[in-house]
Symmetry: D2
Subunit: 372 residues, 4 copies
């Protein structure tokens, strides 16, 4: 069951409520939504979940049964209306929030290849209005003989360019043992499509104090994507951004088939924000703008796009890197389509930002008696 408290109930009272619920054999998780707190009761032995026993509690506004198999990720856990999205902050700039009115654009190269390449690309996308910087330091590559990324050095470069540009950094993590290292440098940790059901990694990311960008596996159903988010959320990290990036089909004109319908389906099923990666879906820079605009029209909260200052020199996925002028053109269209959707593009980064300060796991857990 899902309990929603009355507005303004104190943390202390919520702790007391959770204690009582847990004494009855339930595992509880609490998420603050505006002035209310939603307490989700998970794994309850059947008998304990008799809502009758709890309806007398003056702090409780409503009690509902779960209506979907995933719970914390589902709309059941969100007291807002059907189109209410939980905003997730990804940087210190005022508009660096995924899931608000502003549509966030995360842009940058497939791989971090060197300081000059990263710097040129980052300044370029920042000037064109990007809200955040993407770039792979640890690359999952089909072939072990392909370029595997710069590793820790790439993470350092991302940190450096982050400081210069003020752009929050989104980068992929591949291994449970790297989570802390990546979190020291990144504002958002990305789980790639191939790792969407790497449950050990999801569990580890559930214990950190950083948002996670969770890409849909290329043969994962929407339900499985939401369960993957649930794997992270049940460990205490509620800041999960979902990303549609194309599914595998028989069609070979594009690298993958962008499942545009996933956007309205996810908007119905979950309160988590949804972004789209048109670059991997298409595998072809020429097709990226049309897909990016379609994503905005379909209701996406953001985009993650591959851009390279010199696409022809890219060391990975060359064909799908937008040049800086092509990215600018895409952004102009995006501005218009965002307006048509009653939204706007999130404003880019201000001139100066503080360096990222990684919150260790222990501190993160301490800071989250009630997950925000």
């Amino acid at each position: 069951m899902v309990i929603t408290t009355r507005p303004g109930v104190a943390d202390q009272q919520i702790d007391a409520l959770r204690e009582r619920l847990e004494r009855c054999g339930m595992r509880t998780l609490a998420v603050r939504r505006g002035s209310r707190v939603v307490v989700g009761c998970l794994d309850a032995p059947g008998a304990a979940e008799d809502s009758g026993d709890w309806q007398q509690d003056v702090n409780i506004e409503s009690i509902m049964a779960w209506t979907r198999p995933y719970r914390l990720a589902s709309r059941d856990a969100s007291p807002g209306g059907a189109h209410d999205t939980t905003p997730i902050r990804i940087g210190s700039a005022r508009d660096a929030v995924v899931g608000g009115n502003g549509i966030v654009v995360i842009a940058g190269p497939c791989s971090v290849e060197g300081l000059e390449q990263l710097r040129a690309t980052a300044h370029g996308v920042r000037n064109a209005g990007a809200t955040a910087l993407r770039g792979g330091a640890l690359k999952p590559r089909t072939s072990p003989y392909a370029f595997q990324g710069l590793g820790a050095e790439g993470l350092e470069l991302l940190s450096l360019v982050r400081q210069e540009t003020g752009l929050p950094v989104v980068t992929e993590v591949l291994d449970t043992r790297q989570v802390d290292l990546v979190a020291e440098h990144a504002d958002v940790l990305q789980v790639g499509a191939r790792n969407m059901q790497n449950y050990a990694l999801l569990a580890e990311l559930g214990r950190i104090g950083r948002p996670v960008l969770l890409k849909r596996g290329f043969a994962a159903t929407i339900t499985e994507l939401l369960f993957a988010a649930e794997h992270i959320m049940t460990r205490g990290n509620h800041d999960v951004i979902l990303c549609e990036r194309g599914v595998r089909t028989f069609e070979s004109a594009t690298r993958f088939t962008l499942d545009i319908s996933a956007i309205p389906v996810l908007k119905r099923e979950t309160h988590l924000p949804v972004i789209v990666d048109p670059s991997h879906a298409a595998g072809d820079a020429e097709l990226v703008p049309a897909l990016a605009w379609a994503a905005i029209a379909a209701g996406a909260d953001g985009l993650i796009v591959e851009v390279h200052a010199r696409p022809e020199q890219s060391r990975s996925d060359r064909e799908q890197q937008l040049s800086l002028p092509a990215f600018s053109a895409m952004m102009r269209g995006a501005t218009t389509f965002a307006a048509a959707a009653g939204r706007r593009l999130a404003r880019g980064a201000p001139a100066i930002v503080e360096p990222p300060l990684y919150v260790s796991r222990q501190a993160a857990l301490r800071r989250r008696p009630v997950a925000s």
Copy 2:
């Protein structure tokens, strides 16, 4: 090879040119594009296709080799620029043209169920701004025990409502033997997804003087869709409208997976107009508006949408029929997104229209010494 004439060459001279080409063993087809005529040379024995022999001809502006396996459907056969689309007129109203600046919306019930149902729906969609009326009289149904449509009676009803509303009629044809009957009542003949590779039917449609709306098979590649169009075009009917309506994948949250990328890919490959059917793709009325808007943002030339005056009474595909108010809301959004795309919605039908006059095959062929 593809020959483009200089502007203003007379029909006579084109006939003479084609005669000479055919004497060399080539089959030719001519399509007028603005003031020029494009002569496509098909099935040429290797030797005959030596372009050197023809470059002296003063009426010829350029000679090009085919660069794609499909020919008349390909951009090779279109002298316009990369974004130039061949407009196809689907009714007598001024704006009833697919492939121009105006985005055409074809709306109506899945099946024609009776006069009252069709009339109520047709007037409803007309008031909301639809350009044309859809409705199935001959229905291809998975089960032989499901409602199979009203047949000839349904076609009569479509004709009747067409006269009342001025909306051109789009309806499906299933059988080579019905082509003439359907063409007597319909302004556009639709080939359903299940018949996209029914080559006997395509050949028959290649011989009539009516536009064809060709739906992509749900496991057909984009290349196969273009070859299906080619099957119609090589018989002399160049008025083919392509329709993306979702492909079959493992995802079961939607009925099919709309392949939104097919729009920009088709725009690159072909000069034929491209429309989208969000209703069959989604199989769920609630998702239709988001997909319709995405299609416009991705560059579609039109939409074909299922609308029913009383969706709950629909005899087929009930869940995917939009109600009239939902359709109006979708149209308001479509207007805004069309503007963002630098286009507009095509204006609906004027008050009064002439009845459709079917052009028999013989007349059609006579009328098309140069296909327009």
Copy 3:
């Protein structure tokens, strides 16, 4: 509901029973199974289907409700046990029966290309033990510029070689208007994968007195395949052979992905015989034997295999034509795997056979008061 009569009930009594059922608003179809007759009641208005009213009838052994959405094709309509298959005779030779203990092998070229090619291939496959000859005269080709088959001439060649070799002929029909022509020459009419949901064609085939080989569409579910068979059967032709030939997936190492599981699933769902086409599934002659043997091990009643006396000269699907020696090697393995499955390969054709005599539709209908 499905009524099974007691053994030995006379045709007269069955006619009387059907008349009474139809007076109650039901449409009935009768199929003889051994000494019993199964009467399927279709499209009954709810009230009329009260089985209580019929249980008194002394000719009736049992009354059952339909348990599946397809009816005549389903196991519900078969009084035999779960592994009982309805045998379908495809020629006059004693062993030319699909669905009995003997596994039938239909072999021959993709296309009929000429007398010499067909004759050499037919004698070759006959010597290697094939039960029937395949060969396309009317070819459905993706491109209108590819070889479209020899047409009526190809059918004549099939007839001729049929007489010489005694091999029954299996060939494809594409168009409702060709059904009679093809039936004059063929022992079995094949519906290709692209036409599996061409309902006009299925209806026409439901009215002839020839078995139909129905190939699964390459994106059709097993349920849809059974509904396609039902479209034929409800018109009175109960002799439908189902054929699994690969479905479309993301994997490109093979032309299609053979759905081997379809065999045991179909064996559970239907009493119709099931054969497998490994040639189109693989698209690669080298892989065909392994798939053919797997099909036998999985329970298939037969194979349809492409063989060409000179594969390198084939005018269509060259890579997937087995040479005669490769076919012989495949047959040797097939003999062993059939034995392991407790079956045997059906014996090939005897030396001399009568010419095929086409039963016109009217005669066919007259001959089938009770479909056999």
Copy 4:
């Protein structure tokens, strides 16, 4: 390039050869195949790979260029003929070898649920002729609320039952940090379909002295499966067993679609042994025998099958667990089909075996100057 030495060249000389190759900038890996050693040269800078420089070496029999993008996994790296498979030992019993003439059957429950369940199932499958025991202790589950396995306790139970029955143990590993723990208890470490492209895990498994059972991801191409094997092999562990377990398609009659064609394709591409998991492919115990037999007929080197002493009490994937009698019946059929394929079932475990002794990574590496 791939260098094959003459027979009987001493380890010392091979070390010297590799040293010289590496001084030229190549990374080398050596695998013993019978009396020869194959030295694969990876990542060579173009110039260094001039085979002319090496052909003088008296120890070298042949030098070949790589013909496929994956290398150590490819047939290029195997001096045997096209049907030669590299045998991989999975236990101490004489016949516990995957890739020899004996077809290996790995059987056991989806999850280890307790001692009694595991013991009853293990003795049951051993009596029916299984060669090895499977059982999940660490379970990757779509939902975080489903049973996640017994963890370390489950591994202990597997060790215990291994000692009792002599059956080598195959169990899944999910996390880089668990590799040593699992290797202490398991004879073969399984990588599940969801982790096929978890490159961190693959790299870790490349460093241990235990065979790896690598399951194909359910949307992975055959090429990607071979690259995943290559990720393990380039780290030094050459004992990779490939497993086809069904791919995701639109068909919902089965849980996945078994790609039976993958077997002959893999046999052409790689020298690694290939086994099949019919249980996960079908998701339905009733269909498992047909798929298992088809796999043998198609050339598989083994099967991995889910069996439960009391299927109705299974805590995961209940519908796909074979009962012990059903497993015995499947094994009887498997014996016959193996014989038809010119093979036999591998003999089961002898009465008494030594306990598994985990070889630590360092020792493993020391033991493998030339990987065997």
